[in-house]
């Protein structure tokens, strides 16, 4: 079996041979990737079910279709993305060609997480391939069945010289990080992100970090409780709450809480039936360790469980659970929950709620449910987060036109659609000057004089372009 350094050398040699540069090559690889997904949809769904008991619907929507969508986007737009972008010039450079050229970075590393093990690995991969890089792919070992599948499929469909899957746990990943990459794309936790950044600093490697955080969900003003409950339940309990953009906790007034809880209860029954554990549409917690962590939070909470609470260790099952009367310092407010537990904190005023969210780290997403646009506006303008969505959850992720990424502790850099292509490209400024007008150049040569300076001021100012 190849060692990590052998893999890297192979990819670097391939990159230096410039085989990934032509558009045709990138298109072929992306088309092959599309075939890989299409041909193996059933295996993908099965692997995701093995890892997370992911319902087929969720697997198709959030792991297959979203990837296909990104592939369509890349294939339709690759030609235009690769075009030089001409820019405006000042008078002194009017006769020159000035443009920005997107160039590949080289050999990049993509480290995927376990919660959406296909999507969060393959969507960045699409950007990296489209941008002309060679890629080392490191799937999460926690979602073992998907890890196996990816390891088997990638070499079958993509160029073995340019794209390689490297497997393993923490030890292997740390060893991998000692190598020099031209970009590292990491999706996961803050703790590991620090390790990634420190390793990147040694080689001055640029990094994209897609992390998480506690995504608040504020519900204020006039609100259609039933509609809100539908969307809240869907986005919270999708993938059993194991989404980086799941609404983590709710802030609302007592009255809203009193209206919301029965609505949540009803929606849960509509969605999953009266015995949720038997519903094929509810996922499970990924590993016993994660299950134990979540149960620990639930056991330590000082709030009141009003919906759910049932659990089954052997099945790694935790029922969709709603906890009310949760205080700011509760166990459920300590860290990102990443599970099917929804704490509701009762705060009467919108201003107080906004204040509370400001005491926390910037999350990946920020949600507000309200029929009043003034409430939505207030929350938008007084918060900071990776992305923002009002009156729904998660779906803003599915729009390739929006940059998807964090800020502060939720990460930096972004991707999806064109943003993914840019994340893995170097924007090289290119200027092609002519040989003429050397006399004009004389203005800048010594001996310097005030007169020359005045002329220069005029020819290099942005105003001077409007004359031509």
């Amino acid at each position: 079996m190849e060692s990590q350094s052998q893999v890297l050398e192979r990819l670097r040699t391939a990159f230096e041979s410039r085989v990934t540069i032509p558009e045709k090559f990138r298109r072929t690889q992306l088309t092959n990737l599309m075939s890989m997904i299409k041909d193996n949809e059933e295996q993908i769904v099965n692997a995701l079910h093995k890892d997370l008991t992911k319902p087929k619907f969720e697997a198709i929507l959030s792991e297959v279709e979203i990837v296909m969508n990104e592939l369509h986007c890349a294939l339709s737009n690759l030609t235009s993305w690769m075009q030089p972008e001409y820019v405006s010039k000042n008078l002194a450079t009017k006769l020159d060609e000035c443009f920005v050229r997107r160039e590949p970075l080289g050999v990049v590393l993509i480290i995927g997480p376990w919660n959406y093990p296909m999507q969060l690995l393959i969507v960045p991969l699409i950007g990296a391939i489209a941008a002309g890089n060679c890629v080392v792919i490191k799937p999460s070992e926690v979602s073992a069945a998907t890890d196996n599948l990816i390891t088997e499929l990638i070499p079958k469909y993509l160029s073995k010289d340019c794209y390689a899957v490297v497997r393993g746990g923490a030890k292997e990943t740390q060893a991998l990080l000692k190598n020099r990459f031209d970009h590292i794309f990491y999706t996961g936790s803050q703790a590991v992100a620090r390790v990634v950044l420190q390793a990147a600093a040694v080689h001055l490697t640029p990094v994209t970090l897609e992390l998480g955080g506690k995504c608040p969900c504020l519900i204020y003003g006039r609100v259609n409780a039933t509609a809100a409950a539908h969307r809240l339940v869907w986005s919270k309990f999708f993938n059993a709450g194991q989404s980086c953009v799941a609404p983590d906790y709710v802030l609302c007034s007592k009255a809203t809480c009193d209206a919301l809880v029965p609505a949540l209860r009803q929606v849960l029954e509509d969605f999953y039936g009266s015995d949720i554990q038997k519903s094929p549409d509810m996922s499970r917690i990924v590993t016993p360790k994660h299950w134990t962590r979540l149960m620990g939070l639930l056991n330590r909470t000082k709030g009141k469980v009003v919906v759910g609470g049932e659990h089954d260790e052997k099945d790694r099952y935790i029922a969709p659970t709603v906890v009310v009367d949760v205080a700011e310092d509760d166990a459920l407010m300590e860290e990102e929950i990443f599970g099917p537990i929804l704490p509701i904190l009762t705060i009467e005023s919108l201003e107080e709620s906004i204040k509370l969210t400001k005491t926390k780290e910037k999350p990946l997403a920020f949600y507000v449910f309200s029929d009043e646009s003034s409430v939505v506006k207030k929350v938008l303008e007084n918060s900071s987060s990776g992305g923002f969505c009002s009156n729904d959850g998660i779906v803003h992720m599915a729009l390739p036109g929006l940059p998807f990424g964090g800020v502060g502790n939720s990460g930096f850099g972004h991707y999806h659609g064109h943003w993914g292509f840019e994340a893995f490209s170097h924007q090289r400024a290119v200027m092609l000057r002519g040989w003429a007008l050397e006399k004009l150049n004389a203005l800048r040569y010594p001996p310097y004089s005030d007169e020359k300076l005045s002329w220069l001021r005029w020819t290099t100012s942005p105003k001077s372009c409007s004359i031509m």
Binding site: L204, H396, G401, R428, M431, Y448, L456
Partner: protein, 489 residues
């Protein structure tokens, strides 16, 4: 609390008051900065003369002219840049509002360098102010007089709580780096760049690193060597070679080496007179440490022009080295001084190979009348920026991103790039609680039929005009009616 901690805490408090949110406020601050440059040229020039021996005209041309242009550009465009940017939607979000909302990051740290102290310290500051951030400004301590002027003048013109100037050396910088920032913008060398990145890692802080490298300059033997050498001489010896994008070394065929040497010699005389030491337009090496560093590079190379030096004055004459080998001392690190080595190469191929052996530089220059040569050089190498048939001037085009790649840096700025780099581009989806029926297809219990619809609606992006939008909306409402009937009733 240390002085640095206090400055950062005050800046954060000032940021949290929200006063830098309004575009009007930011534009006012930029206008005040503009006034600083128009009112205080004399003090700025006097300090630069003491630090780098630049003339007043030289200082204006190389430092403040660019800044004034940049500020004007920002004042003109800020409203547009800071406005929500609408993007493509998919069918299901047709009636929603989807846009990117540029927002400030918070408190930015700007660490300046000493070679163009105003340009590389204030230019990032302009971007930080425009994006609505607070910014702690740390000028380079190497430029003793200029950092004092910055410390004195900036608080008079711009908000001194939001944009504090913190002066000091290594210990003060290290103390600053222990604090939490929302972005660190550093201009300097790659060794310190790594230290900055490591410090930033603790707080998960994104960084922009404007570093350097050895910017190669290839001269095609068929080009107009006289014009090429004029432009190269200017690019090389401005600021005594202490420019991150100065042409570091020349690659050319042996047959034109003597001609190149002659032409450069001629231009040196034309620009800096027979005795550059007495010419007011020729600069000095910043300090003795760098003087010694640059002089040491001469050890194993042949001097074709110049070589005169005076340690007490930190003066090194404009110097050209000939027949330099890749193993020579002068080729081991970025020169950042007035030594111009010429490495003879037998062909464009050899030049490209040699360039690719080194780290990716901040700039790459090629002089040739042949577009094919230019394209090959551009396609087969990588660098921050690329400029054909001149030196340095790509820096002055605000619409071009200025930044490095690989060892020459991370991120880019200038103009709108600065604004975007120091903003958080927040993706926003503003929906209403209506049309709940349409959402139904994504809710459990899941059926294959619903999946089919969801596949179509949720995930296809649309790019149609208004008429198309209305037609689709009508279709959507119809579908919603059907779905509501089928699944809810």
């Amino acid at each position: 609390m240390s002085r640095e901690q206090q400055a950062v805490a005050r800046a954060r408090k000032a940021f949290e008051t929200g006063r830098s949110k309004s575009v009007e406020y930011r534009i006012n601050q930029l206008k005040n900065l503009q006034r600083l440059f128009s009112e205080r040229q004399k003090e700025i020039a006097a300090a630069i003369k003491k630090d780098l021996n630049k003339t007043e005209v030289g200082a204006q041309f190389y430092e403040t002219l660019g800044l004034e242009g940049e500020i004007s550009l920002f004042i003109k465009n800020l409203k547009e840049w800071a406005a929500p940017r609408h993007v493509k939607k998919n069918l299901l979000t047709m009636s929603d509002t989807v846009y990117i909302h540029p927002e400030p990051l918070g408190v930015v740290l700007v660490i300046g360098a000493w070679n163009y102290p105003w340009a590389v310290t204030i230019r990032p500051l302009i971007g930080a102010i425009a994006a609505g951030n607070a910014a702690v400004v740390k000028p380079s301590e190497v430029c003793v007089h200029t950092s004092k002027v910055m410390e004195d003048l900036l608080p008079i013109y711009i908000d001194k709580e939001l944009y504090p100037v913190v002066t000091g050396g290594v210990p003060e910088t290290q103390e600053l780096l222990r604090q939490k920032f929302d972005h660190i913008f550093y201009t300097g060398n790659s060794t310190v760049g790594k230290v900055i990145m490591e410090a930033a890692a603790k707080h998960l802080t994104p960084v922009t690193l404007e570093l350097g490298g050895k910017s190669p300059c290839y001269i095609d033997k068929n080009c107009d060597i006289s014009i090429a050498c004029r432009r190269i001489t200017w690019g090389k010896y401005s600021n005594c070679g202490q420019t991150c994008i100065a042409p570091d070394y020349i690659l050319c065929e042996p047959s034109i080496q003597n001609r190149v040497i002659e032409e450069v010699k001629k231009c040196i005389k034309e620009f800096y007179t027979d005795n550059p030491k007495t010419c007011p337009d020729y600069g000095r090496i910043i300090n003795q440490r760098h003087f010694k560093r640059v002089m040491a590079m001469l050890e194993d190379s042949n001097i074709a022009v110049g070589g005169e030096n005076d340690e007490s004055d930190c003066y090194i004459a404009p110097t050209v080295l000939q027949d330099v080998k890749p193993e020579a001392k002068v080729m081991q690190e970025e020169i950042f001084g007035p030594l111009l080595p010429i490495l003879p190469v037998s062909s464009l191929d050899e030049a490209i190979k040699l360039i690719n052996k080194g780290e990716k530089p901040l700039a790459l220059y090629v002089f040739s009348p042949d577009n094919k040569v230019i394209e090959r050089m551009r396609d087969e190498t990588s660098s921050g920026g690329f400029l054909a048939n001149d030196c340095l001037v790509h820096y002055s085009v605000s619409a071009l991103p200025f930044g490095g790649v690989g060892n020459s840096g991370i991120g880019c700025y200038h103009g709108k790039f600065s604004f975007d780099r120091l903003s958080h581009l927040r993706g926003c989806l503003v929906k209403k609680l209506k049309m709940e029926g349409v959402n139904d297809m994504r809710y459990p219990p899941h059926t294959l039929k619903k999946l089919g619809w969801a596949r179509f609606f949720i995930l296809n992006t649309v790019d149609v005009g208004w008429v198309g939008r209305m037609a689709l909306l009508a279709a959507l409402v119809m579908v919603a009616a059907v779905v509501i009937q089928k699944y809810l009733l």
